[in-house]
C-alpha cells in the first residue's frame, strides 16, 4: 500500500523556558491518509495545537525545538529549507485558525487576502486572482460574492469571516487542511453552518483534514479517526465510532463521562457528572511513568514507575494503558 499522505513519527516539540524545558509535545506519532479526516482531541495544554503548528513549522526556533520526522508525500518537512517550506504552506498544506477576528488582516480587502496565496503559489495576475477569489467566496456560501470581495474583515460577521478563512485555505486546492478549533469561537447555529460547509467541501474538494478540537461533539460529527492527546502524549487512537463506543484509555473514558449528554432529561439518564480529579501535570518535569497516573482511578505503583506503550487493542485501535489490555476490563 502506498504511504499515507502525512506521517508524523515521534514528534517532539520542546520549548526552552527560564525554569526548565517544557515538553509540549513528547513523542507523538500518527498518520493521515489522502482524503481522510483525523481529529486530534484533548484539553488545553495537551499539545494539540503545538502538534499542528509543528507540521507547518510555525514554531519559532528558538525557544522551540522540533525533533522527530514529519513526512508529507514522502518528503520530510523538518529537513526542508525555509523557501521550500514556504512553497508548501498555503499551497499543499493550509491552515484555518480559531480566531476569525484576528487571523485576517484588517487593512486589506477580502479579495486581496484570498488572492495573495493564488498570486504567490500559482502566479495568477491580480485580475485573475480576484476572479478566482469571487469563485472561492461563492464556493464557501457567501451571498453576493462580487460585492463582498471588495469588503474588509470588519464588515463581516464572525461566521462569514470563518468562511473567508476557509476560502483562503482552500484557494490553492491543498491536499491537507489543518483546522485548529475552527468553530470554537462561533455560536452553535453558525457552528452548524460551518461544519456542514466543511463536510460539503470535503466531498467536492477531497482534501484530507486534521481537525484540532476539544469538543467531542464536533469530533463525532466530522471525524473518521480520532487521536486523543494528554500532557503532550498520544494516549489513544481509534476509528470514531469505536472510540465513542468502547474507549480503552481511562482518560478518554473520563472525558466522555464528564460530558453531560444532550437529551438526558428525555431518557431519564440524568446522573451526576463523572469528575476527573486533580489537575493536568506540569510539562516541565519529566514524568517517568504514565502521564495520567496522578489522576487515574485505576493507577497502581507500576503505572507511576513505568510508562505504558501504545498497544493495539482492536483493529486500528491503540491505547497507552497497562490495564486496558482486555476488552471491557476497565469499561466505564
Amino acid at each position: 500500500m502506498a504511504e499515507p499522505l502525512l506521517v508524523v513519527e515521534n514528534l517532539q516539540t520542546h520549548f526552552r523556558t527560564p525554569d526548565g524545558i517544557n515538553r509540549a509535545v513528547d513523542g507523538v506519532s500518527f498518520h493521515v491518509n489522502a482524503g481522510e479526516t483525523v481529529a486530534i482531541v484533548g484539553e488545553s495544554g495537551c499539545g494539540k495545537s503545538v502538534t499542528s503548528m509543528s507540521i507547518l513549522r510555525l514554531i519559532p526556533e528558538p525557544p522551540g525545538k522540533i525533533a522527530g520526522s514529519i513526512r508529507f508525500q514522502g518528503r520530510d518537512l523538518l529537513k526542508l529549507s525555509e523557501p521550500e517550506m514556504r512553497s508548501i504552506r498555503g499551497n499543499d498544506i493550509s491552515m484555518i485558525f480559531q480566531e476569525p477576528m484576528t487571523s485576517l488582516n484588517p487593512v486589506l480587502n477580502i479579495g486581496r487576502q484570498i488572492g495573495e496565496t493564488l498570486r504567490l503559489h500559482q502566479g495568477l495576475s491580480a485580475r485573475e486572482a480576484e476572479a478566482k477569489a469571487v469563485e472561492m467566496l461563492k464556493l464557501v456560501g457567501i451571498p453576493e460574492p462580487g460585492r463582498r470581495v471588495r469588503e474588509y474583515p470588519h464588515q463581516l460577521s464572525g461566521g462569514m469571516r470563518q468562511r473567508v478563512m476557509i476560502a483562503i485555505a482552500l484557494a490553492c486546492n491543498p491536499k491537507l487542511l489543518i483546522a485548529d478549533e475552527p468553530t470554537t469561537a462561533l455560536d452553535v447555529t453558525i457552528q452548524a453552518q460551518i461544519l456542514e460547509l466543511m463536510r460539503d467541501l470535503k466531498r467536492t474538494v477531497g482534501a484530507a483534514i486534521v481537525l484540532i478540537t476539544h469538543d467531542l461533539g464536533v469530533v463525532a460529527e466530522v471525524a473518521e479517526r480520532v487521536v486523543v492527546m494528554y500532557a503532550g502524549k498520544k494516549v489513544e487512537e481509534a476509528p470514531v465510532v469505536e472510540l465513542f463506543n468502547t474507549p480503552r484509555h481511562p482518560y478518554t473514558q473520563g472525558l466522555l463521562g464528564s460530558m453531560p449528554k444532550l437529551g438526558s432529561s428525555l431518557t431519564g439518564t440524568e446522573t451526576r457528572l463523572a469528575e476527573i480529579p486533580g489537575l493536568v501535570p506540569s510539562l516541565k518535569q519529566k514524568i517517568p511513568g504514565c502521564v495520567f497516573a496522578s489522576r487515574c482511578p485505576h493507577a497502581t505503583d507500576f503505572c507511576v514507575k513505568v510508562a505504558p506503550a501504545l498497544e493495539p487493542k482492536a483493529p486500528g485501535h491503540v491505547a497507552a494503558c497497562h490495564y486496558a489490555l482486555k476488552e471491557g476490563a476497565i469499561a466505564a
Binding site: 447555529t189 472525558l255 453531560p260 437529551g263 428525555l266 469528575e275
Partner: protein
C-alpha cells in the same frame, strides 16, 4: 403559592449610540427589549441564547450594575430598580455573581483571604476578627479548597480552582440568588464537570437560587429546572426543562437543539440549519424578530409581534412561547408535536 424570589417584569435596556459632529445620540442598541421572568427560591433558571442576544445584559440589569431603561426588578417582594443607593445596599448582598473568566475576575494583588473577607466585612457579617477568619476557612471548605490556600495569590491557582474562589467570594455575602454568567464556559471539559457538580451540591446544601446564563445546552439541560431562551433582546420561550427539550414550541429553540453537535457518531438526527446571521439589535426586524431566519415564517410574522403566552400543546404546564404558529390548526403547525427525540437523536 409563595411569591417568587426574583420577579422581572418587562425589563428593557437600551444603550444609546453616540456619534456625529456634536456627539449626539444617533440611535439605540436594543439589547434587552421587554423581558419578563421569575425565579423561585432554591430554583435554577437558565438563560440561553447566542452571543449578542442580551442574556448577559439581563444578568447585569438584575444585579443593578446599571440603571434600566424600563420595567421593574422585584427581589423578594421589594422593587429594587428604583431604590436609592443606601437602601439598595442590603439588597445587593442577597444577589451575587460568578463571572466567566476566572483569570480576570479576581484581583491579582489580593490574597485569597482578602478576596473572601471583603464581602464579609463590607456587609458586616462578622463581629470580630476571629469570626471573620472562621468564616473564610468555612468558605474554603464549602468550595472544597484546602484551608491553608488562603494565604496564596490568585495566580498560584489553576482555572478551575480560581472559579472555586470566585464561587466562594459570591457565597461570602450569604446570598439567596447567584447569577452565573457563563461561569463554566471557559473551563476544560473535565474541570467543567467538577464546577457543575459543585454548583449543584451547593444549591442542595444552601438552598440557593441560580440564574444560570449559558450558551451550552447540554450543561443547561443537566443542571437547570427551567429554561428561558432569548433571541435578539426578547425571551422567545420559557419552559420546564423536560418540556422544552422534549417538545420545543419555538422554531428558534428547535433550531438551537438541532445545531448542538452530540458525541454520538453516526446517529441520524433531524437537522434544521438556520440561514444567515443574527440581525443587528440596533435595527431589529419588524414583527417577530426571528422571522428573517425562521424556516416556517408566514406573512403575519413579518408585521405582528407574537406575545409570550402559554402553549396548549406543551408537554408540561408553565410552558410559554412567542410564536404565531400555535394559532394555526395542528396539521399546519410543525411544532404541535413533540420533536425532541428526533432533534437530539435519543
Amino acid at each position: 403559592m409563595s411569591s417568587p424570589l426574583l420577579d422581572v417584569q418587562d425589563l428593557k435596556k437600551h444603550f444609546p449610540i453616540r456619534g456625529g459632529f456634536f456627539g449626539g445620540v444617533t440611535g439605540h442598541v436594543y439589547a434587552v427589549d421587554g423581558v419578563s421572568f421569575h425565579i423561585n427560591k432554591g430554583e435554577t433558571l437558565s438563560l440561553v441564547g447566542e452571543s449578542g442576544c442580551g442574556k448577559s445584559t439581563v444578568g447585569k440589569a438584575v444585579l443593578q450594575l446599571f440603571g434600566i431603561t424600563d420595567g421593574q426588578v422585584v427581589l423578594d417582594g421589594k422593587r429594587i430598580d428604583d431604590m436609592p443607593a443606601n437602601s439598595l445596599r442590603p439588597m445587593r448582598r442577597r444577589m451575587q455573581v460568578v463571572f466567566q473568566d476566572p483569570f480576570s475576575s479576581l484581583n491579582p494583588r489580593m490574597r485569597v483571604r482578602d478576596i473572601l473577607a471583603e464581602p464579609i466585612r463590607n456587609f458586616g457579617l462578622a463581629r470580630n476578627g476571629a469570626e471573620l477568619t472562621a468564616k473564610v476557612a468555612k468558605l474554603m471548605d464549602t468550595v472544597r479548597l484546602p484551608r491553608d490556600a488562603v494565604n496564596r495569590w490568585p495566580h498560584e491557582f489553576s482555572g478551575g480552582q480560581r472559579q472555586r474562589i470566585g464561587i466562594a467570594r459570591a457565597l461570602a455575602a450569604e446570598p439567596d440568588l447567584i447569577i452565573c454568567d457563563e461561569a463554566v464556559s471557559a473551563l476544560d471539559v473535565s474541570v467543567k464537570a467538577q464546577i457543575v457538580n459543585l454548583l449543584q451540591d451547593l444549591q442542595g446544601e444552601l438552598g440557593l437560587a441560580l440564574l444560570f446564563i449559558s450558551h451550552d445546552l447540554a450543561i443547561v439541560e443537566h443542571m437547570t429546572h427551567r429554561v428561558a431562551v432569548m433571541y435578539l433582546g426578547k425571551i422567545v420561550e420559557v419552559a420546564p426543562k423536560r418540556s422544552l427539550f422534549a417538545a420545543p414550541k419555538h422554531p428558534y429553540t428547535e433550531a438551537l437543539l438541532s445545531a448542538v453537535p452530540v458525541p454520538m457518531p453516526g446517529k441520524q438526527r433531524e437537522r434544521i440549519l438556520l440561514k444567515g446571521d443574527v440581525p443587528s439589535p440596533i435595527n431589529p426586524p419588524t414583527g417577530c424578530r426571528f422571522h428573517t431566519r425562521c424556516p416556517y415564517a408566514f406573512d403575519r410574522c413579518r408585521t405582528e409581534e407574537p406575545p409570550l403566552r402559554p402553549i396548549p400543546t406543551a408537554l408540561e404546564a408553565g410552558h410559554t412561547a412567542a410564536c404565531h404558529l400555535h394559532d394555526l390548526p395542528a396539521d399546519r403547525n410543525p411544532l404541535a408535536v413533540a420533536k425532541g427525540q428526533a432533534l437530539l437523536a435519543v
